[in-house]
Each structure stands twice: as C-alpha cells, then as structure tokens.
C-alpha cells in the first residue's frame, strides 16, 4: 500500500504529520511534559543563542543538540524534511503563480544568523523571533480559553506575516531570509570541511556564481527548496570570512548597545513578569516571544505586552491580575521557556519568590474608606502578607511587604471595583523570607 503511493503523496503525508506533531507540541496538549512544551529549543539557533547569552548550558538548550549534529552531517536536511514552518510555507507558496523567489532579493539568512550569534555573545540576543520554530510555536500557542482578546493573539502575527510574504513570493523566506536555514547550511559546510580535514582530502570549493543545491536535492519535486544560493563575488568585495566577522561584530555591538539602553530596574510602573523571569534588561533580548508560557499558564494570566514596558518589551510575557492570580501551587510557566528567559524553578523556590508587592489604596479600600467588613485580600492571601489593623472598629488590611509575593490573589478578588483598592506593583524578583527566619541583614 505504502509502496504504491507516489513519492509526492508520501512526502505530503509526512509533512502533514510533522505539522500536526509540532502543532500538538505547541498547543501543549500532552500534560506534564514541560520539556516537550519547550520544543522550539530543538532549533540549534535558538539554543546556541540562549546558551551563549546566558553563559550557561541548561537542560533545555541540550534539546537543540540532535539538530545541531544533524546539520553538521547533513546541512539543511531538516529544512526539506522536518521544518514545520517550511512544510506550511510550501503549501502557502503554491497559492502564488510565481515559481521561485525574487532573484534580486539579497540573501539575508547568513547575515541575520551572524547578527543573532554576535548579539548573543554580547549577552543580549536579538531577533530570536525570526527562528521558524518560534514563529510556528507562536502561532499555535495563542489559541486558548474563551476570554480571548486580540492582545493574546499577537504572538501569532509573525507566522501570519510569513505566510503573506510566501503567498506573494514563494520560497523567499526559506531560501533567503530564514536564519535557521542559514545556520544549518553554515554548519553543514563546516562539517564537510572538518570531515575532509580529518580525511585529509581537499574540501570542495563552492563555484562562484552558481547555486549550490542542498545535499539531498529532489529535482522531480516542484517544491524543492533552492538553497544556499551564493551571490557572485564582485571585484573589490570583501571575502566571506571577513564579512562574516564584521557582521558578527556588528551584532555584538548592537546587542551591547541595546542591553545598555534596556531598563535595568523596573520603576513603580514596571511590568510584573512571570516567576523566574530573568532581569528586565536581559528579558527583552532573551525572550523569543514564542508564547509557550502564555499557553502553559493554567490561569491564563500571562499575556503578551503591548509595548507598555517600552518598544523592547513588545510581546514579552507579563502578568495580568485583573481577574485571576498566580496560583501558589503552580510553577508550570517556569518549565516551558525554550530560551531560559523564564528559569526553571522548583515549586518551593517559586512559592518563596516575590514577583511584586501589593499596596492598599486607603481612599478606595472598602474597609478603610467605607468601614465595611471586607478583608477579602486578607482571606485570599496565602502568605499571611496582609495584616489586620483595626480602624474605627473595623478590621482593615495592611500589606507586609517582606512577606508579599505579589501573586495578585488580593487584587483579583478585591470587591472595590475598578481600579482595585489593592494592586500589585512590580519589583525586582527576589526570594521572600518568612517571619521565622531573620533575614533583616539581607538586602530585600
């Protein structure tokens, strides 16, 4: 049966399967598999950039290892056979009447890849959202819940834009822009060179002016990706190595500059980040905007930032306590980040972590202002951070900032209307110590 299927059909079925599997992973249908939820880190580009930027190899970044090895051995094999974004774009590309990418469009992939790596070296990776696996994940991770707003859908935008580009100019993305494809091509060339060095054979020199087809070209297929196009080298142009080095340096300088410009410390109006999020200045770069944490949050309180935290913070995860709050017994979001922008935390560490500080507005508080027997905030606080103060014979709330974790339970349940009388404000995330332990000597 299988043998009787035409080659095209087989390929079609395989692509469909890959898209479905990737979509299932993105939508985090399988419960309890947090590393599987961080599957965009299977992209070696993402995991290399994250590991380089963090100066640490985490468990999640090791997920990128198989594809790294595959690229060393087989170059862009992944692009042809396994990239879910590529599979989708092939189908979208068939909508167009054009058969090939714009010939005159420059090959940006290697440059983008080098800028990403360079900026990662400077500790502030740029353009991580250009990784096709991130874009795929972003699209499929946003469909959740009934109370869905357009803000929740923002991470899906990049794949939609990619689809539109491909519908007009098929193959343009895969051939000329995709940085992951370019990285694999570079790795493939490096692998081949190494192989020949080890085998003491001369490495094959690319012939200038000719398109080098991928290692496993399928000429019969109409949707063969034309890959690794190399522009002819004009007279007076720099050689490839020098150009690559300069682009790398450019990326590093850009990353360094943007990191310096980043907000080092959230002010009173800073955003409340998910528990375990890296420092604000780092987060803007390291977050790939893949939407995994937003998808993972069972309470649905992680939403993409609309740019409230500045342009650099666009689409990064922030917490919204208007309806629900960060559950004491949950640390799911800390396990699904593919880049480590949200670090893995044990439940105990998460429960001890303060991500914000609640403050009572006495002019709005029903107890302070209207002498109501309210104390909902005190009732809901799991950390005994709301103290009772008697005022005019009525119990009134006061926040103990040393105990407040900023979970937002008080804010979401405050019956004082909008704005709430108790609101969580951002702070630099730090562990909180209970009253039993004297930590007065430690900086808070």
């Amino acid at each position: 049966m299988l043998a009787s299927l035409r080659m095209n059909h087989k390929r079609m079925i395989m692509r469909l399967a890959i898209v479905v599997i990737a979509a299932v992973l993105s939508m985090q249908v399988i419960p309890g598999l947090s590393v599987a939820a961080a599957w965009p880190s299977a992209s070696p580009l993402l995991s290399i950039c994250a590991a380089v930027a963090e100066r640490a190899v985490s468990l999640v970044s090791l997920v990128g290892l198989p594809l790294l090895v595959l690229a060393l051995l087989r170059g862009r094999w992944f692009c042809h056979h396994m990239c879910p974004t590529g599979c989708l774009l092939i189908w979208v590309g068939r909508l167009s009447r054009r058969h090939s990418a714009m010939r005159r469009f420059p090959v940006l992939g290697p440059g983008l890849c080098l800028v990403m790596l360079g900026s990662a070296l400077a500790g502030f990776p740029l353009l991580l959202n250009l990784d096709p696996l991130v874009q795929f994940n972003g699209f499929f991770s946003v469909w959740r819940g009934a109370d869905w707003t357009w803000v929740d859908g923002l991470p899906a935008l990049s794949l939609i834009i990619l689809g539109l580009i491909t519908a007009i100019w098929p193959h343009l993305w895969c051939e000329r822009i995709c940085p992951l494809g370019a990285l694999q091509a570079l790795l493939g060339m490096a692998g081949k060179t190494c192989w020949h060095v080890i085998g003491r054979k001369p490495a094959p020199q690319p012939v200038p002016g000719e398109a080098i087809r991928a290692e496993t070209p399928d000429v019969a297929s109409p949707d063969t990706l034309e890959l690794e196009t190399k522009c002819p080298r004009r007279a007076g142009e720099m050689d490839t190595g020098r150009r690559a080095f300069l682009i790398l340096v450019l990326g590093a300088v850009l990353g360094w500059m943007l990191k310096r410009m980043g907000i080092h410390c959230p002010g009173p109006d800073g955003l409340i980040r998910p528990p375990g999020a890296v420092a604000e200045s780092m987060l803007h770069g390291l977050c790939s905007r893949c939407g995994s944490c937003m998808r993972a949050c069972p309470e649905g309180i992680i939403i993409p930032d609309r740019g409230i935290g500045g342009p650099g913070s666009l689409l990064t995860p922030r917490l919204d306590f208007s309806e629900r709050y960060c559950n004491e017994w949950c640390q799911v979001c800390t396990g699904v980040c593919p880049t480590g922008a949200i670090r893995r935390l044990s439940l105990e560490a998460k429960r001890a972590l303060s991500i914000g500080t609640a403050r009572v507005d006495r002019n709005r508080c029903l107890a302070w202002h209207e002498a109501q027997y309210c104390m909902v905030c005190h009732e809901f606080c799991s950390y005994q951070a709301v103290r009772i103060v008697e005022h005019n014979g009525v119990n009134c709330p006061e926040v103990d900032e040393k105990l407040c974790r900023g979970c937002g339970a008080c804010q979401g349940h405050c019956p004082a209307g909008t704005p709430r009388a108790i609101v969580v404000h951002a702070r630099v995330q730090a562990p909180c110590y209970s009253k039993e332990i004297d930590n007065s000597h430690l900086p808070v």
């Binding site: 559950n327 004491e328 109501q372 005190h378 009732e379 809901f380 005994q384 019956p415």
Partner: protein, 299 residues
C-alpha cells in the same frame, strides 16, 4: 356592685398571660415552636462522634429520605492541608457520605465554589479523594449551574445566584469548619453558604455580616454539623495559623444556635460576632445560649 371582670375571668387571663410570656418568645425563635436544641459531641473518632450525634437526633432516617439526593455543603475553599484547619475534615466528610448512602440516599452531591483553584482545593484538602472513596460526587459549579433567587427578608442582600443543587436539595446538610475570619470575625455555619453563591464580592462590599444573616433567613438546611475537631483561632480562613483542638462536633438545625455555641469555643460571646447578633434579631434562630438546650454527648 357589678365588677368589670369576674374573678374567674381575671384568673384565666392571668394564667394565659403567664403561660404566654414564658412560651411565646420561645415559639418565635424556632419554627417548630420548641426550644432549640444542639448536640455537642466530644470524642476522638469522627465516625463514632457522627453516629452518636445523629443517633441523639433521631437517626439518619429523620433527615435522609430513601431514593432521594443528599446535598452536602462542606468547606473545601482553600488549597490547604487537612491538618491546617482551613477546610472541613476529610475523615468526617467520608463518614457522613457513607452513612447517607447507607441510609438509602440515591446520591450524595457535593457542590463547592472554592476560593483557591478548585483542583488544588479539592486535592490538597483531601476532600476530593474522600468524597470519591465514599461514593459521592463533588464538583465546582460553573456559571450556568447557579440560579438567581430573591431573598424576601433580606436587608442588604435582596437576591443571590445560588447553586441549583443546593436550592433543589431534598436533604441539605451544612457541614462547615469553625475558624477565624478577618471580615466576618468567625466562619461558622451561616458564613459557610458563601461557598454556594456566585458573587461573594457583593457580600463583602455591602455589609458582610448583614448579608450573611440575610442569606440565612432564606436557606433552610435539614441538618447542620459544625466541624470543631480542630479550629483555626488565628490566620483564618485560609491558614496556616494557630490551632486549638476542642475535638467537638456540633449538631443542630438552628443555624444561629449552632453558631452561637461554636463562637464560645473561640472564647467569644455569641453576640460579639455581628452576624450572629443580626440573625438573632431577624428571628432566623436563637443566638441566646441561655434559651438553647445544649446536650453534651461523649463518644
């Protein structure tokens, strides 16, 4: 000289007034017209205590009708552990459901709108598992499972969205845990109904104590069993906080009398708790413990 009333008329009138002044106020406190009775069972094993208390009240047959549902309103509001005292004791819940089913109830339904995430509350409190083991059905009501009702005697609370199962229950058992509370001073049987209404925020914003009393004027449980095995004296309603161990279960049908007694376990006078005073004044029940017959049982 002809007197206005005869000696016999005077004597009859005097006797009637005397009888009336003694008994009429008591009749006003309870619908049945008799003195409210509560049964305070002290012991160590919840199963035996439950059997002793119900035995004194005439057995399960008086409450559970064969082939009818029992709706149990317990307290599983918080994702805290059984020994922390934030929720009804799971051992007690399990015994109660088993007994109800053994007495011929077709099903025991346990609706609970918890404060913490329902999954965590049911799991960590141990109640979800206890209900399942005993053969009951516990659920967290969705928006569509509430029904709007008018509270005719309500002063502040004129209407409320209440879980339909609670409204339609042939046998409704209220099984709260006694604990302290920042807003309502104590959480006892009357406060426990907040776990069956949709909009709790309204109560907090519109005189919580009055709303609690108002709702109690509306809802009539068949039986009240207050879990005072261990009580949170501080840090309630969620805990953790300081615990005391009265090792008691309080049985009754008059919510105000039951709550009035339970308040004394916290070292308070019943009328120190405003909603007990308000409910008493509204005639929901009798909060004056001098007029309540307290039967103490050792199990």
């Amino acid at each position: 000289m002809k007197s206005l009333i005869s000696r016999r008329q005077f004597m009859t009138g005097l006797a009637a007034t005397a009888v009336g002044s003694v008994y009429l106020p008591r009749m006003a406190w309870s619908a049945s017209g008799s003195e409210p009775v509560i049964y305070v069972v002290h012991g160590s094993d919840p199963g035996r205590m439950l059997a002793a208390g119900i035995g004194r009240m005439g057995g399960w047959a008086g409450f559970v009708k064969p082939r009818q549902n029992v709706v149990l309103k317990l307290n599983a509001a918080w994702a805290s552990l059984p020994e922390q005292g934030g929720n009804t004791s799971p051992a007690l819940v399990e015994c109660c459901i088993q007994e109800c089913l053994r007495s011929g109830a077709s099903a025991v339904v346990v609706p609970e709108k918890s404060c913490s995430n329902p999954k965590d509350s049911f799991e960590r409190s141990g109640i979800g598992a206890a209900v399942k083991r005993a053969g009951g059905r516990m659920y967290s009501p969705e928006r569509h499972q509430f029904q709007r009702v008018a509270i005719p005697r309500g002063v502040k609370l004129k209407e409320a969205d209440v879980v339909r199962d609670v409204l339609e229950a042939p046998c409704l058992i209220n099984m709260p845990v006694a604990k302290s509370h920042g807003g309502s001073t104590l959480t006892l049987s009357m406060k426990n109904w907040m776990g069956s209404v949709y909009d709790r925020g309204y109560w907090h914003a519109h005189n919580l104590h009055q709303c609690i009393a108002d709702f109690s004027s509306f809802i009539k449980p068949s039986l009240i069993i207050v879990d005072a095995l261990r009580i949170l004296t501080t840090g309630g309603p969620q805990g953790p906080g300081k615990l005391a161990y009265p090792n008691q279960l309080i049985f009754g049908t008059d919510p105000v009398a039951v709550d009035a007694y339970a308040a004394t376990l916290f070292g308070k006078q019943p009328f120190d708790v405003l909603h007990i005073k308000l409910a008493h004044d509204m005639g929901v029940g009798c909060g004056n413990l001098q007029q309540v017959r307290i039967v103490r049982v050792e199990a």
